[in-house]
């Protein structure tokens, strides 16, 4: 005999009957708790969040200034429902018509909008198995099949993805550079893929493009005229360090954007986010260069530190590095939490045994390297049970 379920089960029966199968089977994402709660639970003396690939430099000075100057009386006024001024600024920056931009509450919202716009039951999307999970999640809870293709090395595998495309494939998601591996498709690979992908939407998610320093990294926006099925996603959460304001956008051909706009929520981007993003775009203080330099130095420093203690790393483009640890990654996460460092355990990304660390401030990187070195030494000294 065994213990069973609660009586609440009956109460939930009527709800179960209302929920579509694909929603019932989907598990809600559990976000991390506030810092103060985590510090209390783990007994951590401080907490450095190195788990979300945020920019340690913070927002560009101009963005901070517009927020500081924001008139309080404007708090009672709805934001621009379609981020009018921000779209104008994006249009000027990238030389496209403003109507070809769609701004959302973070890139997660535009992912949801594009799947809702193009997919119905029986359709599928194609993406990688070890990448940003939101493409897969949104597809699943929308009742759309997510076809996941194994990576080739550390980047998406174009041939394997093409092989999974069929007539019901509506969208292909390519994370370029890939989160979490940092691998990317150079221009030649991307163009070849687009030539063969046929008549379906190809999303190039460039959330980390501003960190890339390689010359063969493609400018996907420049391909949109030749390939009108290309849609580019970008965000102000990473390089521009406005994650708390949640501003992301897509740009594509007019008919594609018009379709996505029909399934988008208006007024979802708050006024502070809109003006801060505008200011960030206009920044002339060298924020991008400083950020790239910071990440470059951190990558070199942490890569070397890991090498010295024989920990393999995967570190392509983007402001993050993956480290292979000699123990279960979720245990390493908890050990590091107790020392005040929050990393991303990679089991959920289908990389069990790896952690991902945000590259950032030199002092924090040095302190993290010390703690990691210490933890690894403790583990190697410790007598682990033989079974």
């Amino acid at each position: 005999m065994s213990t069973g379920q609660t009586l609440g089960r009956r109460d939930s029966h009527f709800v179960d009957g209302l929920i579509p199968d694909y929603v019932r089977q989907f598990q809600a994402y559990v976000p991390s708790k506030p810092d103060r709660q985590l510090m209390l639970e783990y007994g951590a003396p401080f907490l450095h969040r190195l788990n979300n690939n945020e920019n340690a430099l913070g927002a560009p000075p101009a963005a901070r200034q517009v927020i500081a100057d924001y008139p309080l009386k404007r708090l009672s006024i709805y934001p621009s429902g379609d981020a009018f001024d921000l779209r104008q600024a994006l249009a000027a920056r990238f030389d496209f018509d403003a109507d070809r931009f769609l701004v959302g509450n973070g890139s997660c919202e535009v992912i949801t909008s594009i799947i809702k716009a193009f997919c119905e039951r029986g359709d599928n999307i194609v993406t990688a198995d070890k990448t940003f999970a939101v493409y897969e999640w949104v597809a699943e809870f929308s009742g759309v099949e997510a076809r996941l293709v194994a990576l080739l090395g550390n980047a998406f595998d174009p041939e394997a993805m093409l092989a999974r495309i069929d007539r019901r494939t509506k969208i292909v998601f390519v994370c370029n550079p890939n989160n979490p591996t940092g691998g990317y498709w150079p221009t030649e690979v991307l163009v070849d893929f687009l030539e063969r992908a046929g008549e379906r939407i190809v999303v190039i998610d460039e959330a980390y493009c501003e960190f890339v320093e390689q010359s063969d990294y493609p400018d996907a926006m420049s391909l949109m005229e030749r390939f009108p099925n290309v849609v580019v996603f970008r965000t102000f959460s990473k390089m521009y360090a406005l994650a708390s304001l949640r501003v992301g956008y897509l740009v594509g051909s007019a008919p594609v954007v018009d379709a996505v706009r029909r399934t988008s929520t208006t007024y979802s981007v708050n006024s502070l986010g809109q003006i801060a993003a505008q200011a960030a775009l206009a920044d002339t203080t060298g924020h991008l260069d400083r950020s790239r330099a910071l990440v470059r130095e951190a990558r070199e420093f942490l890569g070397k530190a890991c090498g010295e203690i024989d920990l393999p790393v995967v570190s392509g483009e983007g402001n993050y590095i993956m480290i292979k640890v000699p123990i279960n990654d979720t245990l390493m996460y908890r050990r590091l939490m107790r020392r005040g460092f929050m990393v991303r355990s990679m089991t959920g990304f289908r990389f069990p045994g790896w952690i991902r660390v945000t590259l950032g401030d030199a002092a924090v990187m040095a302190a993290f390297a010390d703690v990691l070195r210490d933890e690894i030494a403790t583990l190697r000294r410790g007598a682990t049970p033989s079974r």
Binding site: M1, G4, R10, K33, L38, E136, Y333, R338, T347, R350
Partner: protein
Amino acid sequence: MTASLPTHHTASASFPFAAPFLPLALDFAEKATAAFGFGQREIAGLVLAVEEIYSCYLNQLAGIASIDLRLDDERYQLRLDIRFRMAHPMLQAFNLTYRIDPDDEDSLAGLGLMIAARSVTRLSIEFGSDEQVCLQLIREREYPKATMIARPEAPSAAVVRLHAPSREDLLFFGGLLASGQHDFLPAFLERPQMAADMVDGGALGAILASVGETLAGGVFWRRLSESTVELYGPYLLYPDDEDDLLTRLLDDAVGRISRSGARALLRRQGPLPGYERFFDFLGELDLASTPVAGGAGQTVVWPHYYKQLREESGGVVYAEPRFAAFLRAEYDRLCLPRQVRETSTAGQRVGQRIGQNSGDDSVLSVDFEHRRSLATLRLLAKGNDLAENLAAHLGLLANERIGNVLVEIDSGRDEEIGFVSVLYDAGFLPRLLIPDAGRGDLVVFAR
């Protein structure tokens, strides 16, 4: 992950709790069970259980408004929920220790419940607010043991392919396993048709590995509780010197399970060399390999491995001082964020409040695993006779020459925390903590 996505069918009916409706309730149970494709033996067991429970409680109290029956077809088993409202239902007859005395009318009153408990595979009891009672009966389908299939020669180096198995793959793999020696083979692999039905019904996840055209290994997983998935394997049919196949199977399975929503992954099917990359080591239980009465037998160690699948799990556990010391040490060793609050009366204090049965009669469940001479006790219903009931169960198990007795406590169920002091008094000590495996963490006690 298929193990989290059961696709089953349900039949339910509600009857006035009155004698004239008993035949109708029995008819419903019989016809629904048959319609779900179960055989005569399963039908007979469930119908008998419904009849005995219905009749017993009908006799105990008149005027109960209704009784609800709900049958869930999970292909490899039927789950029957019987729900009604009653302030103090008779429960003691669900104990394995319950005995009928022909001269004692009170004991005869429990005969029906005793028969019901023995005519199904598992029984559990839940109490809700407003005197709600739910008896959950589970009857597994009966399956034949695997037919042994001789293993082909070890495959030469070839492309390794991981794949979701077909029904035929599973039957074949079960036959290959049967031809070897595996100490920790679960029942569903000893009876691979059961595994195939479980996979079909979404109760079991499975990945097989083929080297070239030869099946070379497999890994399986199923829900142990709402929050925990249990992993079985990997089972490897040929030497795997570099642990290459083992690593690929584990990486693939863990990757799939990690997106299932489960908070934890548990593995307890024998030693796993090189486990560190995949799991935390929870500890091990020492099991006597021969019955107590058989004299000094060998000790078999039973290791438990765990992997947290979600980054935060926090929580508060109330515990009496001796238990609190054990919990603190384990939470510290495993770096788990839990707050332990010391109290001498945690279980009693909150157990009453949540509507737990507060009568005289406690109920303990017993899970037997005869191959390892193992019995696991769990608390189904608290009562004032808990210490005596535990002693009676231990006496019965000793008479049955069961060499290993474990008791599981769920730290997320307040009434079970109240059981802890009884266990200490009976000579049990906490040996192993399994995070997230119940409503809270499970703690295994042994003597």
